[in-house]
């Protein structure tokens, strides 16, 4: 059963995922053992220990058994300590969470603000050390690569390199969640959170907002592309040369459509934040050229 557990999880696209999956497999094995034991006992009893139809007598007046009780207290304690220790070690090895520093909030309104100007000239050397800024808002993701001066609504990462991030939110709490990487961190407004993990497998994966953030929460998703260093650099360079434009997102599209209809089928909603102005967008209905590099099929 422990082996089976691996098949229930997304592909292991990060170094962290290998640790997590192993932990899950271990816990599944232990859990299955206990479950089968208990339910098996109950089933046996249900099948073979029924009272005879006209037998009004009671069962044996067994009130307890100290030895048995010690065993079934002691063994679970040991199991818990075991699972706890393995978990502690796993968390330690993951080391995903860095510091959480206070950051003054600047804007709260979700009315249109001035579009941010992105300076995009050329890309310097590969900047794997500068953390990628993740800006979350209602209801779109924006990623900024400060060293290269690139902004994007799709997260690109070079494979086998530790990816570092600064997570911020412009309005409410969001959640940075990539199932394939097994990583998640709530993004608290007013804080800048250091976060990091290591992608190990090229491909296209889904990034989802994991903490309920309002009306279009379910649509607040984007893709993460893990690619070779060369392809990554190429993407950065191409994006840096592209003029930033507003990237459409599902929330805005739906909201605009809802505004057009005269009959409202729902209740009042917070207006979506202004669209991110980015060099690169993964939305089909913008003027971006199709990506030049090879993509693996979406998992």
């Amino acid at each position: 059963m422990g082996q089976q557990a691996y098949s229930w999880l997304p592909p292991q696209a990060s170094a962290e995922s290998i640790l997590i999956d192993k932990l899950f497999s271990f816990m599944t094995a232990v859990g299955t053992f206990i479950f089968n034991g208990v339910v098996g006992t109950l089933l046996y009893s249900v099948l073979f220990q029924r009272a005879a139809k006209y037998d009004p007598s009671d069962g044996p007046p067994i009130e307890g058994n100290v030895k048995l009780e010690i065993i079934w207290t002691g063994i679970p304690i040991l199991l818990i300590l075991w699972i706890g220790t393995v978990s502690y070690q796993t968390y330690d090895q993951m080391g995903i969470l860095g510091s959480m520093t206070q950051k003054t909030m600047e804007t709260v309104e979700t009315v249109p603000a001035e579009p941010t100007q992105k300076v995009a000239t050329s890309v310097e050397e590969s900047a794997t050390s500068a953390p990628i800024e993740v800006h979350s808002r209602q209801w779109a993701w924006e990623f900024r690569y400060p060293k290269e001066g690139v902004s994007s609504t799709e997260l690109h990462l070079p494979v086998n390199q530790r990816a570092k991030f600064k997570l911020t939110s412009e309005d409410v709490i969001h959640g940075f969640f990539v199932p394939a990487f097994r990583v998640k961190q709530d993004i608290i407004p007013g804080k800048e959170i250091d976060f990091s993990f290591t992608p190990i497998r090229e491909g296209r994966y889904r990034l989802r907002d994991s903490l309920y953030s309002g009306t279009y929460f379910a649509a607040n998703q984007t893709d993460v592309v893990v690619e070779s260093e060369a392809a990554y650099q190429k993407w950065l360079q191409t994006a840096a040369k592209t003029t930033p434009t507003a990237a459409a997102n599902v929330a805005q599209t739906e909201f605009a459509q809802a505004e057009k209809t005269s009959v409202s089928l729902g209740w009042a909603t917070v207006k979506p934040a202004p669209a991110p102005i980015v060099n690169y967008s993964n939305q089909p209905n913008t003027s971006q050229p199709t990506p030049q590099f090879e993509e693996e099929p979406h998992e």
């Binding site: 009004p56 007598s57 009671d58 206070q102």
Partner: protein, 203 residues
């Protein structure tokens, strides 16, 4: 095991004493104490909130505000804490069935409680910040306001008990009302001491 088709009809002469005493027992004080213990957790939660905000804040006090005056609140504290002794003496008088002694000290307690409320209002009106002024403003008014509400409730309950003391045979079935009001007053007092230390003394 034999099956006996018997319904229990206990002999009514038995346990009549036990049954009777169950009916007589007054559980109201026990219940009131349980309630007060639970109520104290609300204050405790607000205190924890205050501590968390204060220790994590970068700019704690509102701009331009140096800190709370301690003199008048200290006087208020002395008055409130003393009133706990006054109300204790009032209760003593009642137990000794000295109704006028009870009423005098009880009224004195009410006056001291009202003085406290008046002092709190004066302080509030003199402060340069409101409850919307940052986390400090919010927690300050929340804590003192919520406490003040309890003081007001205490004084009103005392008024009710004072009125009832004029009813004939009011204390035939015990003095629960007075005892509970008195306990409530002590509770309000203890809360204030913690609050005072937290907000006015701790800088």
């Amino acid at each position: 095991m034999s099956s006996v088709n018997v319904n229990v009809k206990p002999d009514p002469t038995l346990n009549s004493q036990a049954a009777h005493s169950h009916e007589e027992e007054d559980h109201r004080m026990f219940g009131f104490i349980v309630f007060l213990l639970s109520e104290s957790v609300i204050f405790f939660s607000f205190f924890v909130g205050y501590i968390v905000y204060k220790t994590n804040a970068t700019d704690w006090l509102p701009a331009g505000f140096e800190g709370l005056e301690i003199k008048e609140p200290l006087i208020n504290t002395v008055v409130l804490v003393s009133s706990s002794f006054v109300i204790y003496f009032a209760e003593r008088f009642l137990h000794k069935e000295n109704l006028w002694g009870f009423r005098l000290f009880w009224l004195l307690t009410m006056a001291m409680g009202s003085f406290f409320l008046y002092g709190q209002a004066v302080e509030w009106m003199g402060l340069p910040f409101g409850f919307k002024d940052g986390v400090f403003g919010g927690t300050f008014y929340l804590l003192t306001g919520f406490h003040g509400l309890h003081v007001l409730t205490g004084v009103l309950l005392q008024g009710l008990m004072l009125g009832r003391s004029f009813l004939p045979n009011n204390y035939e079935e015990g003095e629960f009302g007075v005892e509970a009001t008195s306990l409530f007053w002590h509770f309000v007092d203890v809360i204030w001491i913690v609050l005072f230390l937290l907000i006015y003394v701790w800088r």
